[in-house]
């Protein structure tokens, strides 16, 4: 995606909140249905979309709860619309069962979770990165998932577009893990020219209805999903199903499905992985960060360099699937990896799994305050001694 800084264009150079950028990113991505339930700090996304969606012929509905919201989103997606919901921790917990349904039935949709401090009601207006593991394993059963986490207002716009593209390309729910700071923070940003934004549309089929199998395992890993109402009458279920979508208990039908849905994500890792490497070439210490924490980490790395520490940064935008190869490749050459997070150590578990516990230093905060560059800088200095 490229930027087009045309100052005469009204859409360029705007002061915008992360939640607003998410809503505008959704519109730009082609989202035409939103269902949600008010919750701090994600409410602004719903408010903006209640105004913006009808302007572009889309539809907004405030449902009776978050369970109904994600259900309506899946229903709308089955009808052919690009669809999204947005919530925060408590609502994200309520949505988990139906996120599993979307994974099982392979229905494209985007779920935005603007993380706030938990558990339970926690501190609604305080930031957190406490839902990282819930994004991966919140719903029951083994399933693939994609989760993206932005660290600026502009990146929120971009990753919202990417989330829709991944959802449609891979027929999967995609989770956009924002945090309260990114959601509420205002930055002056330049939005891309709509014509330059790469959009992925749902694949159609050329086979006649009687041949159509919505869950065909070969030759494609992502069989096309034809919307309801277009002459391809088929069945969708949360039960394990055969290639036509009918419930099955046969192992020779369950296994190929299971293998395919993991394969469709794993074989496309290079497309899905979004990350930035900063000064990692000569580094002996690496900081791996995402979301709001990546902002502090970047500044800490810059300051540490000025002090002569050989430290680099990997800023992850894709956190699920975990970028094993990226981390492994970098960590092979490094002695130390620092993982700052606004939780008690969630993505650090993955880093430790890949590079070994002895190499990893966690920097955690889970009280609703954010990590400052100094917090991370202290860890760099302490460990470089």
């Amino acid at each position: 995606m490229t930027t087009n800084a045309n100052p005469s264009d009204e859409t360029n150079g705007v002061l915008m909140q992360g939640d607003e950028a998410c809503a505008e990113g959704a519109i730009a991505a082609g989202c035409r249905f939103f269902a949600g339930y008010p919750i701090t700090p994600a409410t602004e996304i719903a408010e903006v979309l209640s105004r913006r969606l009808p302007q572009v012929g889309g539809k907004f509905i405030q449902m009776e709860d978050e369970i109904g919201s994600i259900a309506a989103v899946i229903g709308a997606s089955v009808g052919g619309a690009k669809a999204m919901t947005a919530t925060s921790g408590p609502g994200f917990s309520l949505m988990q069962e139906n996120i599993g349904y979307a994974a099982m039935a392979e229905i494209p949709c985007v779920i935005v979770d603007v993380q706030r401090l938990g558990p339970s009601t926690g501190r609604p207006t305080s930031p957190s990165q406490g839902d990282v593991m819930q994004a991966r394993w919140g719903t029951h059963g083994d399933h693939p998932i994609i989760a993206l986490s932005p660290s600026s207002v502009r990146e929120t716009f971009d990753l919202t577009v990417r989330a829709f593209n991944f959802a449609e390309r891979y027929r999967t729910p995609v989770i956009l893990l924002m945090d309260e700071v990114i959601g509420h923070m205002r930055e002056r940003i330049v939005l891309p020219d709509p014509d330059t934004i790469e959009l992925v549309e749902r694949a159609g089929t050329t086979v006649p209805p009687e041949w159509y199998k919505p869950y065909e395992n070969f030759p494609l890993d992502v069989p096309p999903l034809v919307p309801f109402g277009e002459g391809y009458r088929y069945h969708i279920t949360g039960l394990h199903h055969d290639e036509r979508g009918y419930p099955t208990n046969r192992l020779d039908e369950v296994r190929p499905w299971l293998e395919r849905v993991f394969r469709k994500i794993e074989s496309s890792i290079s497309d899905i992985m979004i990350y930035e490497e900063d000064e990692v070439q000569d580094a002996d210490t690496l900081v791996i960060a995402y979301g709001v924490t990546a902002r502090a980490a970047r500044q800490a790395v810059e300051q540490a360099r000025q002090h002569g520490h050989k430290v680099g940064l990997i800023k992850l935008s894709t956190i699920w699937p975990f970028p094993e190869e990226v981390v492994e490749r970098a960590a092979d050459r490094l002695h130390r990896v620092i993982v700052p997070e606004l939780n008690r150590g969630q993505l650090a578990l993955e880093v430790e799994r890949v590079v070994g516990r002895h190499k990893v230093r966690r920097v955690n905060r889970a009280d609703g305050s954010i990590l400052s560059p100094d917090d991370i800088l202290d860890a760099i200095k302490e460990w470089s001694r």
Binding site: F33, I74, G75, H235, T237
Partner: protein
């Protein structure tokens, strides 16, 4: 002769690619409701491509897989919420949502009242067998007071929901109740509900002879079917009866058929017009 013709009607709507037999016990009322739905759709001459059938979880939740419509078997209690999203992006589709009493009124009770309140154009059909049949006869929101259930071994101490009356109060534009014994009437109500432009509910009172019926020794399927016949009175008969006489009775008929409400997606079209006028 008539029976022969009807069996051919079913054949045109059942999925021949599906692995039969169905999951329901012999003598179950759910198949009777499905038959009524099929005949109603056929009588209305709807295009199968324009019909969606959406369900939740439970015995009734298994209904859509057998019929050749656009079908979706969703999560427990959420069928109306899934259907709401589909209806909003496909307002021209006829969406029939089939649920059991536990599905629609317990875990899905919130979606039930809000779908009715919104008056969104869905046809909700609740097969009320007063129990959770698939899991073995636990008490549901419509299990009668005093009955025994798999989870009420000492008798049930909760009062049943009057499903149809609840839908009237919540704001549905069409509400009717019949039983699986009164199958011609049931078919007529379902056809009216499908034609209604707004939220329409048909409560189909049924029974579960293999769980709740067995636990309470209410007899076999024909005995329970006979009881539906004996216990039911029409709306007109009920008007002349005292509250005491109405205890334990099933009131059959059209409870409401409002003409004064605009369907939700049509109202939303007005929102789109207003929003687009504003931006020019």
């Amino acid at each position: 002769m008539k029976q022969q013709r009807e069996s051919r009607v079913h054949e045109r709507y059942l999925r021949h690619s599906k692995k039969f037999p169905n999951v329901w016990c012999a003598g179950c009322g759910i198949g009777i409701v499905l038959g009524a739905i099929i005949r109603a759709v056929d009588a209305l001459q709807l295009d199968k491509n324009d019909v969606a059938m959406i369900s939740g979880i439970g015995c009734t939740g298994r209904m859509p897989v057998y019929v050749d419509f656009n079908t979706m078997h969703t999560t427990h209690g959420r069928a109306l919420a899934f259907a709401t999203g589909l209806k909003m992006v496909r307002p021209d589709m006829k969406i029939i949502v089939v649920m059991g009493d536990g599905d629609a009124l317990a875990i899905g009770g919130n979606h039930f009242i809000h779908a009715a309140r919104r008056n969104i154009g869905l046809t909700a059909i609740v097969v009320n067998n007063a129990t959770y049949g698939m899991t073995g006869g636990q008490y549901s929101p419509t299990t009668p007071l005093g009955a025994r259930a798999a989870t009420a071994p000492y008798g049930h101490i909760e009062h049943p929901f009057p499903i149809a009356e609840l839908a009237v109060t919540a704001g549905a534009s069409y509400v009717a109740r019949s039983t699986v014994y009164h199958v011609i009437e049931l078919e007529k109500f379902i056809a009216q509900a499908i034609q209604k432009d707004g939220f329409a509910l048909v409560e189909a009172v049924s029974y579960c002879h293999t769980t709740l019926g067995r636990i309470n020794r209410w007899g076999r399927a024909p005995d329970m079917m006979r009881r539906l016949k004996e216990q039911s009175v029409t709306v007109r008969q009920a008007e002349k009866m005292s509250a005491n006489d109405l205890k334990g009775k099933i009131v059959r008929g059209v409870l409401t058929d409002r003409q004064d409400m605009i369907e939700y997606t049509k109202l939303y079209d007005q929102i789109i017009e207003r929003a687009q006028e504003e931006v020019g």
